[in-house]
Symmetry: C2
Subunit: 328 residues, 2 copies
Amino acid sequence: VGLLEEVIAGSPSALARAISVVEDRRDGCRELLSRCHRRERQGFRIGLTGPPGAGKSTLGSRLALAFDKAGDSVGVIAVDPTSPFTGGALLGDRVRMNELSGRTGVFVRSMATRGASGGLAAATADAALVLDAASKRWILIETVGVGQVELDVAETADVVVVVLTPESGDGVQTLKAGLIEVADIFVVNKADRPAADRMHQNLRTTLELRPSGSPEIPIISTVAVSGEGIEELISAIREHKNKLTDPERAKRHRVRMARSHVVRLVEARVKSRLSSADELLETLAQRVARLEIDPYEAADQVIAAGAVDLLSKMRKRKPKAIPAKSDG
Amino acid sequence: VGLLEEVIAGSPSALARAISVVEDRRDGCRELLSRCHRRERQGFRIGLTGPPGAGKSTLGSRLALAFDKAGDSVGVIAVDPTSPFTGGALLGDRVRMNELSGRTGVFVRSMATRGASGGLAAATADAALVLDAASKRWILIETVGVGQVELDVAETADVVVVVLTPESGDGVQTLKAGLIEVADIFVVNKADRPAADRMHQNLRTTLELRPSGSPEIPIISTVAVSGEGIEELISAIREHKNKLTDPERAKRHRVRMARSHVVRLVEARVKSRLSSADELLETLAQRVARLEIDPYEAADQVIAAGAVDLLSKMRKRKPKAIPAKSDG
């Protein structure tokens, strides 16, 4: 495929097209990704997550600028929910991000969540593979919100930075949101606000509740708008990256990342199957509403229909998959 | 099954056991639910969702108390994430809820999210069916957080109340979190705080951006700790309930609820299949990490294995399903 060669050669427009092919699952998507996967992984994936309004975009811009100034190329994937009104991505606070696009070394891409959350984590992981092929050294993956899907997206990263503010609530609430399970680094942004010290302390206390031997999670204070603390954050990210150079740890990390990618792909396919089973679902839902069948029988029927369909599709696809494998 | 008869007769301990059977998917779960489903639905499901710290528990307690005082029976399902440290549910702010348990007419149940978010929305919908059988007139479903899973849970309710605070960020951020798509009623809680009016205004402006003809979404100001605004909230809930008595609308609503229940069940089964395919996943992840296969081939193999397995299980289950259907 000429497209991948153009991406590898460094064409930003080819990169944008390649990500679109992947995002929309167009023809050639699978072969493109399969070829990207067989190349050596170059980029280090940084996941930025946290509640809305925590300043993730500003922080992401700061990081991207700092990497760019140091001469490293950067790819940014900003996950945007789709507006229910316009059908388009809500760009609002991405404007600042777009300023970055002017810089040659920084490639910014918004991805819409498209209401259905199915394939988001899978699509993000796929897009990161394409950015790898484009030799981006740092890949920033920025999510909106702190729900399960956002955590799934964050988990496709090599390091997960959870961004909070002094107003983000106490440690127990942080725990609740499942953030401590995914965080490699905490950032208390807007650290010039009065409650910042208390938040920092609160987080530290909460982290101390973990069993001894739990991995250390640094807590960095930043003021993203002024750039305060960005250097410390970059140091913490580099330190995490260095830890992963240990061969045994690197191997385990690669397996874990591969596993989460496969799980996300399977979930994404099931979701896409469900949305294409619209007619069957509607018929079954009507029968359930009329109490003719119960929801459990309906679910059985959906799964049976899907399984038959998937198996027959897979049998058809088999002969195609083999030559694709042998050209690597 | 004697258990369901005890639930119908009003035994709280039988109700607790029945929900455990459903939550843990124990033997007899499916038959129990199938029989619950064939009974007339009695309870009106109120979903309470919103960011952590918005005061959903306090608001839920207030609502439950008010319904109880009016002589109506209430069931509360509080969805709690599991602590990664203790493996148990984080009860923290549920203490207030537990005080309610002393009241005969109010049944409170915490459900753990168990890390994996798979079956949560399905389990909640199932538990609500059991509360229906126990003749609960109002079923409160309270979630933590505002991610996709929480929105899925909220969608199993007849009316979705989104609880915000004056500090919840501006309208655009609310939009982003996908809340406007699921909200039937907005609550600005902690309305005695300075920024409350601005938040209220901001929400109103954001709602006005929707296309004309969009359903009206009331915005109620409350101070849950003092009980201020609870009556207005209950009026708004009753008004929403009345709208659903229109036969045509009621029918569409029933079909939509049935459909979302079926979709959640299918998703839950796929998730549980994935977690039981642990060995296969690990083997495939290792091969992916060694670049022997790509993640897309691995996903194919997981799906193929699952589909074969599901189909063979379903063939075995068929003869059982038929007698269960004929006794209704």
